[in-house]
C-alpha cells in the first residue's frame, strides 16, 4: 500500500483514503481515523483489560458503580455513566434511563409498549424498558438515522 502524507499550514487535519476494494485493513485505518479503533480499559476479574466500546451491549450504574455488559462478560468501568453517554453518543450509545446507557447498534429489536414506552430486546436476550420521556429521544435518534438513509 502506497502511503502519501502532506503537511498543511492551515485548515483542519484530514485523512483521505483511496481504495479499490474495501478490506479489513482499510476498515481498520478508517476506524482509527474516526477514533473508533480506540479501546478502553475496564476491570474484569481483578485485571484491567482493553475492550472496544462497540462490543458493549449496555452500561448500567448499580450503587454508584458502572458496569459494562458484553456478550460474554460483565466488566467494571471507572468512568461515570453521564461521561460515557456524552462521549459515545455519536457511536450509538443512548441514555435510556437514569441508570442505564444502551448501545443502539446492539439492539436486536424494539417493541412498542403501553403509555408510549419502548421495550428494547438486546442481543444477549436482556430486555430494557425505555420510559416515555427517553422513548421520545430514542425515536428522534432513530428517525435521524432513517433520514440520513433517505438523503
Amino acid at each position: 500500500m502506497k502511503l502519501t502524507m502532506n503537511r498543511i499550514l492551515q485548515g483542519e487535519d484530514e485523512v483521505i483514503i483511496r481504495y479499490r476494494e474495501m478490506n479489513a485493513q482499510i476498515e481498520l485505518i478508517a476506524a482509527l481515523a474516526e477514533g473508533k479503533g480506540q479501546k478502553m480499559g475496564v476491570m474484569w476479574e481483578g485485571d484491567t483489560i482493553m475492550i472496544s466500546p462497540e462490543s458493549i451491549l449496555y452500561l448500567e450504574s448499580v450503587d454508584g458503580a458502572v458496569w459494562a455488559y458484553l456478550p460474554d462478560k460483565v466488566c467494571r468501568v471507572l468512568e461515570s455513566l453521564g461521561t460515557l453517554a456524552a462521549a459515545w453518543s455519536q457511536r450509538g450509545f443512548f441514555r435510556c434511563s437514569k441508570s442505564m446507557v444502551i448501545n443502539i447498534y446492539r439492539i436486536e429489536r424494539l417493541k412498542s409498549e403501553a403509555g408510549n414506552r419502548i421495550r428494547a430486546y438486546m442481543e444477549n436476550g436482556e430486555q430494557v424498558m425505555i420510559s416515555r420521556r427517553y422513548a421520545k429521544q430514542l425515536r428522534g435518534i432513530l428517525k435521524g438515522g432513517a433520514d440520513d438513509e433517505r438523503e
Binding site: 483521505i16 483514503i17 482499510i26 403501553a114 419502548i118 432513530l142 440520513d148
Partner: protein
Amino acid sequence: MKESKWKERLLNCLGNEIWIEYKACLYSFCVTVFYCIYLVCRGVYFASILIMFESIILAYLMGYMQVYLLRDFDEAERIGRWEAACIVGCSGVYTLASYVLNWFERSLPVTGLFFIFMLFSYFCVYLVNRIRRAFDTRNLNKMLADFKRGKRKKEEKVYEGED
C-alpha cells in the same frame, strides 16, 4: 439536582395528564355517540349541553382512575381477569351515572343497551391500542434497521467522497 427531580416529576405529570385528556376525549365521544343515536331514534334533534358536560367530566374522572388506579387496563397486552373486571366495572360506572344523572330518561332497556355499548367501546379501544402498538413496533424496527444501515452508508459515503 433537586431542580431536575422536580422537572422530571412535572414532565411525568404532564405526560400522564395528556394521556388522561386523550382517554377523556375518546370515552366522552363514545358516550356522546350513543346519546345522539338515542336522541335521533326518538326523533329529537337537540342535545342537552348539561348531559354532554356531565359525560366529559365523568370521562375525565374515569381517565384519572384508569391511569392512576387501574393500571391503564385498555392498553394491556391481552385481556386477562383483571382487564375484564376493569372493563365491566368501568362500563358499570358509566351505566350507573347515566341512570342517576338521567341521561336516558331512566329507561332500563336503553340503560342496558348503554352498558353493552360501553363494554363494546372498551373492547374496541383495547383492540385499536393493540393494533396501533403493532404498527408502531413495525415502524420502530424499520427505523432501527435504517439507523444501522445508515451508519454503514455514511461510512461508505466518507470513503467514496473524493476521487
